[in-house]
Each structure stands twice: as structure tokens, then as C-alpha cells.
Subunit: 350 residues, 4 copies
């Protein structure tokens, strides 16, 4: 069985394994205060073109989301998110477990707009019972979103400006950031993120690392005592250098971007195949997640050799599924997938 159901089925890029091997018996300080973390942080600051950014390395995405949000909010404050946002749907209430409400707004494409943010803020402020409502204080967006879509620079600037106008902080979940940065037409850079967000994270787990997310904080208020919160929420790795090493490797020789690009090129090939077969997509996006709508019969056939994720039922006989490429996806497997889809559709036509 060949896996296309997610982008974290394999281990890590070989250069990371090599680094682990080379440094294995070095003795380093614990908890992220080693030289490798410092080097990786410095590389990220350089790419972000801001020398003062705080950079912290955490193990996983849910942990990162709950720690950042808890660090940024007082008890009565909540975080605005698309209803499809990972924190709202797929983190077992991790944010609520820290005491904060996720203020969900509807979204068809996984994104939220500056206008929606403003509406939530004004609705609370003008409600006549503001104190009886959760105070919106942070906006959470994912980029790419859970539906693989991307914010344009203009959209991101608008959301950021609205946040500033109303005193909210902006947090961008970049679990798949490498794929977002390298997609066709993407016009948002790391430097843009550092400039427009109060805090964002660069995902490693899904983009070539064994595990790990790099949190980048430009707002000093959120960074205050941030390490206490990492520790309290169980996110401070004893051998923190494991995280530093990985991000240092990922940001050496543009590896992170190359890995991202690799997945995008293969995703484009799949999208082209689907397009030629007139297979519709649930949502159009340029990143490494593809959401074709196929007949149950075709999916049954495809499922004999490939894994994919169920997304949603579209009608009586069709459903949308998710196919992912990743840094580790091979050309060979993508060729097989495309051939198989073509074969299945040809047979079905007959």
C-alpha cells in the first residue's frame, strides 16, 4: 500500500539523521539552551529579516497552539478561528483545556477575512453586554489552511491591519508552511510573516523533520516568560538540541524550501492528471493537499493500492478525499498514482 493519506508517514530528511549521528555523544545543556538551538534561531531570524525575534522550538503542533494561545490571552479572552481551524476541530479541545474559548467563524475555504474579524470584535463590543461575552483578543489562522488554501499577501495584510486596529494579536499556524511558501503564485515570505504576525510557527513535523515546530514571536508581550509556559504545558524537551539540530539542518542550504518545492511539484502533477480527467476538486488550492471528488466506485478501486483520507460525502455516489504529497513522496509513487487514476477512469467510462 502506498500512502498519500498524510504528510507525516515517513521519518526525516537524511541530512537530519546524519546530524543526529554526528553529534550523538556530544554533551550539551538541556531544555533548548544549547548551541544548536541558538544557531537555528539565528538562521530563522536572518530569513525573517528581524534581528530581535524570539524563537522557541516545540515538539508538535497541538502543543504549540495551546502554549502560544495560553501565553497570549487573559482568562476572559478568546481566539477567533475559522470553523474549520485545527484548534476548533482536531485538537480535542486543547485550547479550551487551558480555559479559553475558540470563537469560530464560518468559512468555505478555510480562511477568514479581515471583515469577519472586525464583525466578531464589534458584535462583542457593541452588544450592550460586553462583559458577559468572551473578549476576542487573538486571531488564529493557518497557512496553508486545513483545506490547502493560502492567504495572499494582501489578505494577510488586511487581517493584520484589522488586528492592530482593534488590539488583537495575530497568530499564524504554519504546520505546513514549507509547502505554502513554495506553492505556485504564493506571494507571502517568512519576512512578511514576521512583519505581519505577532507570532507564527514554522512546521517541521510535516516538512522534513522527525518532529518539531519553530515558534517565532515578534510581540514581546507574548514572549514574556514564554519558556515558563512551554515547561508548564509539557512542551520543553529535555534534549532540546534535538529540535535545534533539526531546524539548523532544515535552514542550511535552503533545505526547507527545497523540500517544500519537491512536494509542490508532485502535487501539481497529480492536479494536472485530475484536471485532464475532469475530476472536480472540493476546493481549489496550490499546495500539497489535493481534494478530488470521485465516485465511490473509483475510490474503492483506488483504495486497493493507495491510502487517502476521507474528507466529506458530496452526494449519494461521490465523496471528496484528501491526497497529500510531502518532502518524502517519490516520483515513482506519484507516477503510479496518476497512472492508476487514469486507468480507473478509463475503465469506468467503458
Amino acid at each position: 500500500m502506498i500512502c498519500f493519506h498524510n504528510d507525516y508517514s515517513e521519518g526525516c530528511h537524511e541530512s537530519i539523521l546524519r546530524r543526529l549521528q554526528q553529534t550523538n555523544l556530544e554533551q550539551t545543556p538541556g531544555y533548548g539552551e544549547d548551541a544548536y538551538c541558538a544557531m537555528a534561531a539565528e538562521k530563522i531570524r536572518t530569513l525573517c529579516k528581524q534581528p530581535d525575534l524570539a524563537v522557541h522550538f516545540l515538539v508538535g503542533g497541538t502543543q504549540t497552539n495551546l502554549t502560544v494561545i495560553d501565553a497570549a490571552l487573559r482568562p476572559h479572552q478568546g481566539v477567533i478561528s475559522a470553523a474549520s481551524g485545527h484548534i476548533h476541530v482536531h485538537e480535542t479541545g486543547a485550547v479550551e483545556a487551558t480555559g479559553h474559548k475558540v470563537l469560530a467563524v464560518p468559512s468555505n475555504d478555510g480562511k477568514i477575512t479581515a471583515r469577519q474579524v472586525e464583525q466578531v470584535v464589534l458584535e462583542q463590543r457593541h452588544s450592550g453586554a460586553a462583559e458577559h461575552m468572551v473578549q476576542p483578543k487573538m486571531v488564529y489562522i493557518s497557512h496553508p489552511t486545513e483545506l490547502g488554501t493560502l492567504y495572499s499577501l494582501a489578505e494577510l495584510e488586511a487581517v493584520s491591519a484589522t488586528c492592530k486596529q482593534y488590539g488583537l494579536s495575530l497568530f499564524l499556524d504554519g504546520a505546513r508552511l514549507g509547502y505554502g511558501l513554495e506553492s505556485e503564485g504564493a506571494d507571502v515570505t517568512l519576512a512578511d510573516l514576521a512583519r505581519l504576525c505577532d507570532v507564527f510557527y514554522i512546521g517541521g513535523t510535516k516538512v522534513g523533520a522527525l518532529f518539531g515546530e519553530a515558534v517565532v514571536i515578534s510581540n514581546p508581550a507574548i514572549n514574556e516568560d514564554f519558556r515558563y509556559l512551554i515547561k508548564q504545558h509539557g512542551g520543553m524537551l529535555a534534549k532540546g538540541r534535538l529540535l535545534g539540530l533539526q531546524f539548523d539542518a532544515l535552514f542550511t542550504d535552503d533545505l526547507y524550501f527545497k523540500l517544500g518545492r519537491h512536494a509542490i511539484v508532485l502535487a501539481e502533477q497529480i492536479r494536472n492528471t485530475l484536471s485532464q480527467l475532469h475530476i472536480p476538486l472540493l476546493v481549489d488550492n496550490p499546495t500539497n493537499q489535493i481534494f478530488p471528488i470521485m465516485s465511490d466506485a473509483a475510490l474503492a478501486e483506488l483504495g486497493k493500492s493507495f491510502t487517502f483520507t476521507e474528507q466529506e460525502r458530496v452526494d449519494e455516489t461521490h465523496r471528496a478525499v484528501r491526497l497529500c504529497t510531502s518532502w518524502a513522496t517519490t516520483q515513482e509513487n506519484v507516477d503510479k498514482l496518476c497512472e492508476d487514476i487514469c486507468r480507473i477512469y478509463k475503465n469506468l467510462e467503458n
Copy 2:
């Protein structure tokens, strides 16, 4: 200015004040372990026709909601509520502050259906990532709802059956229960509630008491160590007898029901006036909250003598507002209100 903007502007029924006076210098045990609380609980058990019910008295609604829900759920479990539910909108994230997610479902009339409950449950269980989602474990409904509507006995039985089928508990917020029980066409009794809900509360604050809500628990698992949770969440009144006394008074000589009936009769009078003037309602309901849609001009005029609550803008020139009657509303004031509305509409026509 005559207040119709809520049902808690005045103090309490005179019989309660009299009881407070008569018993003021008695020495009683604290924290709800006095004879008055015992008497009131016994009266409630009799009305509910279940001798084994646990009855606790708390000070207010938000406190009651957060304590009950926290007592019923483990950390990863959430409570299903209408998106318009008080716990979702107007309690400053009190439930989330205890670590639990409110799983909101859309509703036009403030109610949720058995089918909606089932959908939320099945969506989580069949998601393929159940452990990554909050586990629905309780259903919260308000009766009357925030929009003044009522569950029919059949609807309530359906919700209750679905909860039992899927192992969820059912919690009914009866902040305005007295008005619900005495509305025209209402077919749900206290005994029905005790039979169909795992836990519900009988609102005192809005129905004749100075303050206080009586929590009635039929599910022993929710009642286990419940008093610890009351104390932990700051809801255990030192002079607990104040609550017992009030509910004992309210359930003496059917006072609670008479107070409810009083408000309903006056609300009907207002509804009739509105109907005669062809003033539409945002939502049709038989209880003490009335939601007329009136022009901004008419409301400006009405607002010179009467208070009401803003509900929502309906179009460019019209908005829905809320008028409440209560146990304390006088016939005289309702007559004035009706006359004023008639006068305003007559003038506007000319």
C-alpha cells in the same frame, strides 16, 4: 422610566422578605445543611414525584451552569448547545474556563433537536480521528430558551431518548422555568423534567426570588461529590438557609406557579396588542419574553417611557427588541405600555 428590559429588575416576592424577617436571628448550620434547605428540597422532590432526587441550591445561573457541566464531564468531553445558548454566548466563557468546549449547533428558534444531537455524536465517532475531537457527552438545553420558546413534551422525550441511546447526559437550564411551566399550551411538568433530564435547574432569580437556582439531579454519577464542586467554584453560600428559605416560600401554596402565571397573562396582553397592530414578532413564543419587530422611529418614541433590550437589526429601518414581563410586572404598567404602543402606531400611520 418603566422597565420591560428584563425580568430581574425588582427584588423578591413579599412572602420571601417576610420569611427572611421572621427567621433572621435564628441560628442555623451553614452551607446549605439547614432545615430550610431540607424542607425546600423535600417540596421539590414531591413536585417532581421522585423521592430520591438530589437537590442543591446555588446563587446564580452562570455559576450553576459551570458547576453542573464541570461535574458531569471528564476533561476531553464537551457539551452540545444551541449556538444561541446562554453558555455559548453570554457567560464570558465560563464553561471553557473549567476546561470544556461548548459544541455549538445552529438554531433559529433557540432549540435543538434529537437529530442534531445524533449528528454531532456520529460525526465525532465516525470521523476516523475521534480522539482528536472533543467527545460530546452532555446536551445543554434551555427551557424556555433564550428566545422564549418551549420544548414540547414530545421534543423533550426525543432529545432525552437520543441522549440515553448514545450515553450523553441531558441538562436543562430552567432560569425562566416558572414562565415555561405556566405558558399556554405548555405540556411539560416538573415531573417530566425529573424523569427526562439527568439534571435541571429551577430558576429563582427571575421568578420571584432575590436570587437562587435549585439544581435537581436524578443521575447519581453527576451528584457524586457535587458539593465539593459547588464549593470549589465559589457557589456555596455560607448562609445557605437564605436559599432554602426562598425556595421553601416559592413552593408553598403554589407561589412559584402563580408568579409564573402572572407574567404569562400580562405577556399575552402585550402579544395581543402587537397582533392587533400587525406588529410582527422575530420569533413566536408563549412565554414572558416578547420580541416585536418595530421601526426605529417607533422604538425611539417608545424608548422615552419604557426600557427594552436590543435584540437584532432586521432591516435598514427596523429592529427586533425584547420586552419582558415578570412576577413583579404590574397590570398598570402593562396597560401603559400597550396604550403607548397603540398611540405610537396610530400617530405613525397618520
Copy 3:
């Protein structure tokens, strides 16, 4: 049975009942935004000699403690308390339920010293693992303490200065403040508290009110959005005027101080009787709680007519108990108590 086991067995001072009666059918805004709350707050500000103080009224002590502490701390911060402090022992983990650790320090007399505060702070800061420890950020003291002792002005100034030096806030729990202010030798005034604490509360429940505590905040950072936290934690009374009315009554014609004084005079009488009989005290204090150490035989006899609270076993045949006087204690009952103790001791001698 005559109750000396606590200071909240009766209702309230008659002037409060009278005010409730007089104003019962007035229509006032809810949630503490009425004229009575404003009047009471103004009286408190005047007594505290600070025109800018924020004053909020909550229903009970545990609720007040958890709300104030949660408002003041970020997630990784804790509150220093005597190991005997109410928040550490007798609030069912209410502070921890908001996510914060109580950092307990040993105390024989219920008080903590400036030196102890400094030690906790320095121990954490100099530990070499500061981020792995809870950051002390607030000091909680009770005055009178749970053992009836009082801080001298000099002690309070020292604690306050140490807090300021290290950036901690100082919170004083005044559940029995009225008795503390009126004790023999007490040299701390309301104005001192307002000057030296970031936040404190004036207890009503135990000093003449039906219920209610007045929170006085001089530190604007703690007051920011404080009403949201009251609401979130279930402490916002719908008919908030009930609290305003009571405190307005208590601070009219020095009633609060007179009620405090009343209890102190009667407590002194009991202490004198005990002293004449050479009955030792567990802890010497000048307030309304008295902790005599008596033989099991004597207590068995005394328990036939009077209630008291068990404090602790002292040796095989003796235990310390607590006797409380209050605003409601009658001269007649104190006389009876003293006579009974004398009689019991005379009999035991023979």
C-alpha cells in the same frame, strides 16, 4: 443549643432587612451597575481616602479569592500563602481550579513575614531552574488570620514593601475585617489597607450582611476587565443592588465598625473568663475567634449547651476548640457561656 461555632449562623443586621424591604419593588439596572452599588463604593472610597479605587461587590469569600487571584496572575504564576491560609486549606482547591499553584509557607500564628516572602522569591529566582518552578507573583494574607491574629501596621508595611521590591502584588482577605479593625491594639485602618495592598476585600458575610464581600482594588492592572472575570467565575449577581444596598447600610453611621466592636467586647469577656480559670489558648489573639485548650471532659460538658468548632487535638486528654462571637451574639448568651465554663471548671476541680 447556643451557637458559638462560627460567625455566620444568623441573618443580617436589621437595618439591612429594612433597606431590602423599602427598596424591594424599585426597578434597578442589573449586575452591579445600580445607584446603590455606586453609593456604597463611594462610601468605601471615602473611608479608604483614595478617590480612584475600584470597588466591586461579590457574593462570597471563596468566589472573591479565586476571582481576584485569577485576575492577577498569568498561567505560570502562583500565590504565596501561609500553610494555614483559607485558600490553601478550606476552599476545595478553588485557586488551583483556575490553574494557579498556592505556594505555602509554614506559619504558627497564621501570618507570614516579609522575610518569608523574600525567601520564596529568591529561592525561585536563584534556583538555576527558575522556568521549571512556579513564579511567585502575589502574596495572599488574611487579616484577621484563620487563627484570629492580626498584622501590625509595621508588619503589613514590611510585607507590602517586600512585594513592591520584587514585583509581587499583595492581596488581603478581609473576610473578618470588621473584627480586625475594632480589636484592642489594632493599628491598621482601611486607608492603610488601600495604601499598602494592591487589592483587599471587606467581608460582609461574617460582619452583619446576609452575604457579600466588597473588593477594593488600587492596582489598575488587576482591575483591568475585572468584571469579565467576575462574570466568568459565576460571581456576578443579577440583582447586584442587593450587594450595594447591604454595604451602603454597613457604611452608614459607622454600622460596620460598631458591629465589629460589639463582637470584640463580647470576645474580651470570654477571654477574661478563660484567663481567670487559667484555661490556656492555642493562640493568643485580640479578635472574635477564641481558641481555648480544654479537657475532653470539660468540652463534653460544655457541648451539651453550646456549639463550637474542633480545632486540633493538643494531647491525650485535651483539645483546642474555636469559639466565635459575632455582630449577632447576644450579651445574654455570652453570660451563659461564661457561667457554664466557670461551673464546669469548678465541678472538675472537686
Copy 4:
């Protein structure tokens, strides 16, 4: 500089790195549902001699502690721990952040006794205000403790029996378990732990793994929905196989025990050297942490070549420090350390 200041300065045992390399590009299911986790769990069940144990793999110790404790307790319940326990001192209030109080009991050697557990339970139950106190419901012990001491089998059986008697669950933190199992005189086995504890964990981070702790649960009530809690608290590793692989390697060919034994042998050599020089120990223990009390002068000299952890000041001129050996400590470095200590003491004598 040669590090003896902790047991997590290096990476991992070479066999683990080799396994990572060999399996790197395999595609496996995420979140711990892969074959490697299953294999490792099976090996642990076999060693524990209980075929029904639940085994979960988490990334680190704090995360494990907070997740287990949160899974086991209802909101009003707390966990008893030695005052020196890791959860009480060095996890930034992680347990309190989940809402639960740590009930600390004094301890000189890091251990708590069955009698102490009983006392805490009875004190609460017989307090006359049980509902106002946190209900003790779990006991947390570390083995080895933070002071390197071990429970004897008899002591552990006594604690376990007391827990069972009073309905508490027993949780053993085995962050350094490998060293405890292999110490001289240790009479507790994995099978004993599985039999006597409701839940315990086998530490990997400090005993040969890159990271990871294996939670072993024998009490089904604690295991119920445990994976939801792992996810909610951010402890569910996407590439869960990384944990399974490591524990599978550690429990292949007794590697875990051999690594433990290695550190113990070297620790014994250091202890012997200290003993010959009559250097006293702060606490006597048989495990891999050694707490010599040395003069400031000697430590200044030693600190030129070796790192150690400050433990506490003993008198004006002496302090206790901590030296750790580990699976990665080399014979060569221990020889150097012992020689250096001998040299320093010889010089100081002259």
C-alpha cells in the same frame, strides 16, 4: 568540561539511531498506532507479566505526569506527593494548570510512607469540613526519587495497600526507573510495579532514548479515553513510531537493564572514592545520583573540569551538589573525576 550535572546531556544509544536509520523511509500510521509501538508495548507487557496492561508512549516526563494525573482525577480531587516531588517543585505548576492541587507531605529522603498517605486521607475525611478541602484521590511517588532513593518492595506494598484501602490510585514516576531497577539491593521489579501501581511510567529520556516515556496502566478507569487526554495536552506525537522504535530497541536483548546497570557501576565507583576520602553524602542512596557535601574551595577546584548541579548549602563553607552518571557516562570520565577529587582533597589537606 566533562558533564556530570545530569543524565540527559547526550543523545541516545547507538542501536536506537541505527533503528531510526533503517526504518526512516517506511510509511507507518501516525499517532502511535503503528507496528513498532505495538511491538514495544507487547515487550513491556511481557516484562510486567500482565497481558492486559495498557501501554502508551509520551514524549517527556512533565507531559506524562500532567496527563496521567488529569486522567485520574475529578476536578475537586488532588494528588499526594512528597514536598520534594518533581510535580510539586519542578514542573512550573503543570498539575495545577490542569486544575488539581498537589497535596504535599514533608519528606527528608524523597519518599513518603503509607502512614503519611493515611494521615492525609483521614485528616480530610474527619475534618468536619471535608467538602471544603481537596479530596485526596491519587498518590504520586518517584522511584528512584529526586534524591536518588528507592522504595523497598515492602514499602511499596504498604503504600499500595493503603491506597487500595482508601480508594486512592497509585502513580509511580519512573523517569530514572532503569537506574532504580539495577541498583544494588533493589528488590522491586517491573512486574511488582505493574501489580502494585495503578499506573507508572518507564523513563526513556534519561535511560538511553532520545526522548520518550512509556506509560503503563493497569487500572482500566484511568485508561478510559486516555488517548483523548494525550492529544488534548499536546502529547500525541504525529510520528508516534519514533517512540515505539526506541522502546522496542530498549527492551531488545535487555538493553534497558544493561544501560541502567552501566550507570550504577560507575556511580558505585564514585561513591567508593567519596567514602575513602570521608566525604559525606547529603543522602545515602544506591542509584545514579550522588549528593556529596564538599567545601566551597573543593567545589571551586572541581568545577574547573567538571559540571555538577547545586543542591543546597549545608553550612557556611560547605554545600551539597549532585553528580549524575548515566547510560552514556564513560569509564574514562569517571576515572578522571575520581582522580580529580582525590587530588583536590590531598591538596586541601596540605
